[in-house]
């Protein structure tokens, strides 16, 4: 029965995506493309588990693989979808999810202007790199700057179900673009382990707004962007306060990010910097009745990174990055409230499809390690190192 279903599904897909059957531009399912990538990373870290079980041992836990399909459904209506498999945490295990699946249609299009909409599960395109953060061939380095593109809650903030309006105007090879995305976030229950002390359950996306404006060229001269992103969630929590346990089935929180990005590209070098002001707000009405505590709590953190890349040749690149995050508090920062990461590395591309990378991190702080994979205490060393090696292939 399963085989029959699989055969039927395969037949339908084969019919839908067969170019030879639909040769006319006005016909259905034109310009179909399949793309895929896979990467395997080896990590060794000195004192903590960093994106794998790598504390004082060589870990091969971290892997990622993606399969993408894209097609012009009819005339200008296109459909794109990507399934992503990855593992970054022992407790979350091997994760397989539909990263995005959306229709896109240009409502108005001239030689230089386009205005359109997207509908479905869409990537939250904050900053310069969130949309393509998982594909080794489109990013700099094995690990994205954790200050901004955090892996600890990647899925929760990554894509959302909704509608996006987008528009752009081209000025020669420079593009001015704007987009606004109204959605319901896709919550990842595994990632609630980052606040395990609250015993969170039943995490649900509530509503989200993302607005972004950008200008420039991706490979010659400046490009800049500003992103505002505010996803809101509902969650049930239960945690001890003194001798009693507070249970709140009406708790909520939101994350508000404002990201300013600037990149300068030349033929053989690039410099990128992004600055994030991050506000995090929780609302637990049940705490309103507890003496000395308040229902609403707000926290802030500031993050930035600056990164330089040099291209020695078509095969060889080298990069160096300083990545920083600090919480805003009126006292000395705790180790888990800061993250200062100096890292450098190199990549080699023996062919169009293969990519090999190696990089080293020297880190102060614990703000971006996965709480669900680490038990930390104030007695532990906040200075630690990580070395990693990655091999990737794309089709």
């Amino acid at each position: 029965m399963k085989k029959q279903k699989l055969f039927r599904l395969s037949s339908i897909l084969l019919l839908l995506f067969s170019d030879s059957l639909f040769a006319d531009q006005n016909e259905w399912f034109q310009r179909n493309s399949w793309n895929a990538f896979v990467s395997q990373t080896a990590i060794y870290s000195s004192d903590y588990n960093f994106l794998s079980q790598s504390d004082d041992r060589l870990s091969f836990d971290l892997w990622e693989a993606g399969l993408l399909v894209s097609t012009a459904v009819k005339n200008k209506l296109t459909f794109s979808a990507q399934v992503l498999g990855r593992k970054v945490s022992e407790s979350s295990g091997n994760d397989l999810r539909i990263d995005y699946a959306f229709f896109s249609y240009p409502l108005y299009q001239t030689v230089n202007d386009t205005f359109g909409l997207r509908l479905g599960r869409i990537r939250s395109s904050y900053g310069l790199y969130n949309e393509t953060r998982d594909i080794p061939h489109t990013r700099t380095g094995i690990v994205m700057p954790q200050s901004m593109y955090f892996d600890m809650t990647r899925n929760t903030f990554y894509s959302a179900d909704g509608i996006e309006l987008f528009g752009y105007r081209d000025f020669d090879d420079r593009r001015l673009s704007a987009q606004i995305f109204f959605s319901k976030p896709v919550a990842d229950e595994d990632e609630t382990g980052e606040v395990a002390s609250l015993n969170p359950t039943n995490l649900k996306g509530d509503k989200s707004l993302l607005a972004k404006i950008s200008y420039g060229s991706e490979y010659d001269g400046f490009r800049t962007s500003f992103t505002y992103y505010r996803p809101e969630y509902k969650v049930d929590v239960s945690f001890p306060v003194g001798m009693m346990t507070v249970v709140d089935n009406d708790a909520s929180f939101y994350s508000e990010s404002m990201i300013t990005s600037l990149e300068y590209n030349q033929f053989d070098w690039s410099v990128t910097t992004e600055y994030l002001r991050h506000k995090f707000s929780t609302n637990m009405p049940a705490l309103g009745g507890v003496p000395g505590l308040q229902a609403k709590n707000i926290g802030y953190e500031e993050s930035f990174y600056i990164q330089g890349l040099y291209r020695f040749s078509e095969q060889w690149e080298s990069y160096v990055r300083y990545d920083s995050t600090e919480r805003h508090v009126n006292r000395a920062l705790l180790d888990n409230e800061k993250w200062h990461d100096i890292n450098f590395g190199g990549s080699y591309r023996p062919s169009e499809n293969w990519l090999v990378r190696a990089e080293v991190h020297y880190i102060e702080g614990l703000a971006r390690i996965l709480s669900r994979d680490n038990v930390t205490s104030s007695a532990q060393d906040p200075y630690w190192t990580a070395a990693m090696f990655q091999i990737a292939y794309k089709w």
Partner: protein, 144 residues
């Protein structure tokens, strides 16, 4: 005298290398399908087309972009000398579009012969070659 001779020989070698590179660039041709009305393009427009941003000709027809494979010498020449970009950088731009689901990459062909055939037979097509053997229906456009 020996030093002068060596300096002269090095200068001649460098100049001849530069001249031969210029000659190689000069033989690179951007070709389009006969349906394309444009007779010349600004370099910025060509860059915009090959980064898959500009996707319509001035008459509203869709631009079909063809490229030679990544390791082809003509492709490397086209990227480095004409577009002033490493092939890998251009590829990164395409893959950012593809993997975000917001755009397409060009159609890759294996040889200049195939490039000529496809550009000749695809309305709105654009490509590039170095060979002299052009099909009579293929149009060469100048880049300013």
């Amino acid at each position: 005298m020996t030093k002068l001779k060596r300096a002269f020989l090095i200068t001649v070698f460098v100049l001849s290398s530069l001249l031969s590179m210029t000659a190689l660039s000069a033989s690179l041709k951007v070709i389009v399908n006969a349906s394309v009305e444009e007779n010349h393009l600004k370099l910025k427009d060509l860059r915009s087309i090959y980064t898959m941003k500009k996707n319509l000709w001035s008459n509203g027809d869709r631009i079909a972009v063809f490229v030679l494979s990544d390791d082809n010498a003509t492709h490397k020449e086209f990227c480095r000398k004409l577009l002033k970009v490493f092939p890998r950088q251009l590829e990164s731009v395409w893959y950012r579009l593809v993997y975000s689901g917001t755009g397409e990459k060009p159609v890759s062909v294996n040889s200049e012969k195939e490039m000529i055939e496809l550009v000749t037979n695809t309305p709105g097509a654009i490509g590039y070659i170095q060979s002299e053997s052009l099909h009579e229906e293929t149009k060469v456009i100048s880049i300013k």
